[in-house]
């Protein structure tokens, strides 16, 4: 186990190293110059050239990367070109939006998808199954940003129950914060819920066809026990795998929904930084997201151990 963890940590570091190098090169090779974006067409190319020099963007890429890496290893991700604020502080300031948004969407996804998938599997090829599949099909077909706009139209514009966008902050208490994240979390979670319903249904269906389920039923074990003890736990491994991947996708989906709901989260920070060619921020956010996804995958692998005692990592 220790060797396994050491291997995973080494892979983690290698991934971050690779991602940082790749992003560094890609954002600099892309046409577009941060100095030009800051100066804009109202200024002059000469002013942009002077700014470019001052920002140190004229030096060779390798020199820039080595410098960045040396500072990053000490925990300094640089300063945002656009905001003039340390990147680390900028990322931390966006987490109180993106983290709860993703968690709320994930919880929403899990608490609706698992029962619905289970229900569909139990009602295989009956009306309930078809209905659940239709719901999931709708969820897959509706893009998150459109679902978001529809929700705003209904709950903010027509009913006036929640605000149409923006983030109330956590300083005014838990409820105002949760309320401003509710619609985006629903819009974000709905698509992933639809995917997870399908995964849950097919995984449970597979297990329900197993001999040990038939045996349990033949022994007269109650249906509740058959489902909870014998079926669900055995069906969970593929479900957890899909759900783990979906957590990563939720973070990607947050980029679009944070724009629709005008939320000051990590996704919008990344989007704005790419448009403004705010290289240190693009770099910092990418590293942060990559680390999170690697950690989620690691957590999923550890969860396999709990779910199936037969699994060993050596």
């Amino acid at each position: 186990m220790r060797r396994y963890i050491a291997r995973r940590v080494a892979a983690f570091v290698a991934t971050l190293f690779f991602v940082s190098g790749l992003v560094f090169v890609v954002v600099r090779v892309l046409p577009g110059d941060p100095a030009l974006v800051i100066i804009g067409p109202e200024g002059s190319p000469e002013a942009a050239a002077r700014l470019r020099e001052a920002l140190g963007l004229n030096r060779p890429i390798l020199v820039q990367y080595t410098e960045w890496l040396a500072r990053a290893l000490r925990g300094d991700l640089g300063v945002s070109l656009q905001y003039d604020v340390p990147v680390g502080r900028l990322i931390l300031s966006r987490l109180p939006v993106t983290l709860p948004l993703t968690v709320m969407a994930a919880v929403l996804m899990a608490v609706t998808a698992l029962p619905l998938g289970l229900y569909a599997a139990r009602r295989h090829r009956r009306a309930g199954d078809y209905l659940a599949m239709v719901v999931s099909q709708i969820g897959i077909a509706i893009p998150g940003f459109w679902a978001g706009l529809l929700l705003i139209l209904l709950f903010s514009v027509h009913l006036g129950w929640v605000q149409s966008g923006g983030f109330a902050g956590w300083s005014n208490g838990l409820w105002p914060g949760v309320r401003s994240l509710l619609l985006p979390a629903i819009a974000l979670g709905f698509f992933q819920m639809a995917v997870l319903v399908r995964a849950t249904r097919s995984s449970v269906l597979d297990v329900l066809r197993e001999d040990y389920v038939r045996t349990a039923r033949a022994k007269g074990v109650s249906e509740l026990s058959v489902i909870a003890k014998h079926t669900l736990r055995n069906a969970l491994i593929p479900i957890v795998t899909v759900a783990g991947l979906q957590l990563g996708q939720l973070m990607a989906g947050a980029i679009i929904l944070e724009s629709v709901f005008a939320l000051p989260g990590l996704g919008r920070l990344a989007l704005g930084a790419i448009t403004a060619r705010d290289l240190p921020v693009v770099q910092g956010v990418t590293l942060f997201v990559a680390s999170t996804i690697v950690l989620i995958n690691f957590a999923v692998d550890l969860l396999y151990l709990v779910l199936d005692p037969r699994i060993r990592y050596e």
Partner: protein
């Protein structure tokens, strides 16, 4: 689905109603873009000016709501020879840090703008200044190396705002000035809050206690926020397609005004076939600008025929100078050696919605004279590098929001690559001609020369489209300067 929906409805029904509309002295404004820093002396971005210019920081001279230059932080000025200008500063004007503005601050600010080390985005505006002499705390004289007709205008530009020297290092995140509002807070990615400056040098202003700028980039989200009552005004970001519906809605007032933003289709004058004036004229004759405004802008926007915008005192209406005439266009193309037309690529940046829509209408119109256009959408950062900086394009569409930007046509390196010695001579003359009548004549000549050479197609003025809740008063109708002056804005009692 039904159960899920019911559950959601029940859950949401338990929510308390949205908070009541903000108190009358507060204003929440939607803007589409977050400023790339708040330092007017470092970025000419309109998103920065929309927040800071006139509201937080001001200059010696101001362009007022009618486009006129008026004394502002200087209560008056005089010049006997158009080379030595003496400004008499208004007394008792205090910066937001409490210190009184003195002539030494003005000298510091302009010296800094002239210094190439400080990376001011428009140092050319100060290139003619020779000496700056502080006579006393409230009197300062500028000696110009050459007569400069635009000197006072340059002193009114956003890059000439006066700030205290002790705040120079924090302008980007905490600008300090003399304006009617002080910066309250900037929550990056979400909002900027301005609060009333109770010590403002104009008595009785400002009328609002607090202004919140919320950054909502998506036009549909901006519309929803307005309709839901979450913002009081959408200043920039709603498209012309939203206007007819909002004009009918009794809850809102719609302001449609003029701007200095001329939307043009530029042709690369250094590249075949656009290096031939006959081709450029043919393209101009092949475009029905009225239909472009109808098709791309829902009929909102004034058709123009040359660079100078209607808010400029030297504006001449040239919209009819080269009217839509496809037969003439085809004849000119044949003369130039393109009897069957040619193919060209139109590069546009969809960040500005009107560029793509206008391009689609133009592509259709120009196909009728045999010019086949392929539209290529590129991202804004790329547009700036490839089109604007390197002139790597055939055709492009963009709005030029800067006022008094005819100088671009006198710069052969500008992305139009228009190089006319005659025009450049006229422009140089206009820069040193101070007499208003003589200068106006030069401006008329320049505009006629531009129409004749057709370096670009001037299409229309992008209208100022602002929508506010009923009862908000004091907003500027037209935008002769790149600012949203909120000093006189208030709620009707």
């Amino acid at each position: 689905m039904r159960h899920l929906g019911t559950l959601l409805l029940v859950a949401l029904a338990m929510l308390p109603l949205a908070s009541p509309a903000a108190a009358a002295e507060n204003l929440v404004v939607q803007v589409a873009t977050e400023p790339p820093g708040l330092d007017l002396t470092a970025t000419p971005a309109s998103a920065t000016a929309a927040v800071v210019f006139y509201n937080v920081q001001e200059a010696l001279v101001k362009v007022d709501r009618h486009g006129k230059l008026v004394p502002w932080l200087a209560e008056r000025w005089n010049t006997s020879d158009n080379k030595n200008y003496t400004f008499f500063l208004k007394r008792g004007v205090r910066f937001h840090n409490g210190r009184e503005m003195k002539a030494a601050d003005v000298k510091f600010v302009i010296d800094r703008a002239m210094n190439p080390e400080t990376k001011h985005p428009a140092p050319a505006n100060y290139a003619a200044i020779g000496d700056i002499i502080v006579k006393d705390d409230y009197t300062i004289t500028f000696t110009l190396k050459t007569t400069t007709a635009n000197f006072l205008l340059n002193m009114a530009r956003q890059g000439s705002v006066i700030y205290p020297r002790e705040a120079v290092d924090t302008l980007k995140s905490e600008p300090i000035g003399t304006g009617p509002y002080k910066l309250g807070e900037w929550v990056r990615g979400d909002r900027i809050v301005l609060v009333k400056n109770s010590d403002y040098h104009v008595k009785g202003l400002p009328k609002l206690d607090r202004v919140t700028y919320r950054f909502i980039p998506d036009p549909n989200a901006a519309l929803a926020a307005l309709k839901a009552g979450d913002v009081d005004a959408a200043m920039f970001g709603l498209g012309p397609e939203h206007i007819p519906d909002l004009q009918k809605d009794a809850r809102f007032q719609v302001i449609v005004g003029e701007t200095t933003n001329d939307v043009i289709m530029s042709m690369n004058n250094s590249k075949k076939p656009f290096n031939d004036v006959r081709v450029r004229r043919a393209v101009t004759y092949g475009i029905n600008k009225g239909d472009v405004v109808k098709g791309a802008m829902f009929g909102l926007g004034r058709v123009i025929g040359t660079n100078v915008d209607p808010l400029n005192p030297y504006f001449v209406d040239m919209s009819g100078a080269m009217p839509y005439d496809p037969a003439k266009a085809k004849k000119l193309l044949a003369e130039a050696g393109y009897p069957h037309g040619f193919e060209a690529v139109l590069r546009v940046a969809p960040q500005y919605y009107y560029t793509v829509r206008t391009g689609e209408v133009l592509a259709d119109q120009l196909s009728k004279i045999g010019v086949k256009i392929k539209i290529e959408q590129i991202e804004w950062g790329q547009w700036l590098s490839r089109v604007w900086k390197d002139a790597d394009y055939d055709l492009t569409i963009i709005g030029h929001a800067e006022a008094w930007d005819i100088a671009n046509y006198a710069n052969p390196k500008y992305y139009f690559r228009y190089d006319s010695a005659e025009f450049q001579k006229l422009f140089q003359e206009s820069e040193i001609t101070v007499d208003d009548k003589a200068r106006r004549e030069l401006y008329v000549k320049m505009q006629k020369k531009l129409v004749e050479d057709a370096p670009v197609v001037w299409l229309y003025i992008h209208p100022r489209l602002a929508v506010t809740k009923k009862g908000l008063q004091g907003l500027w109708k037209d935008l002769p300067a790149p600012a949203f002056d909120l000093s006189e804005v208030s709620w009707a009692k």
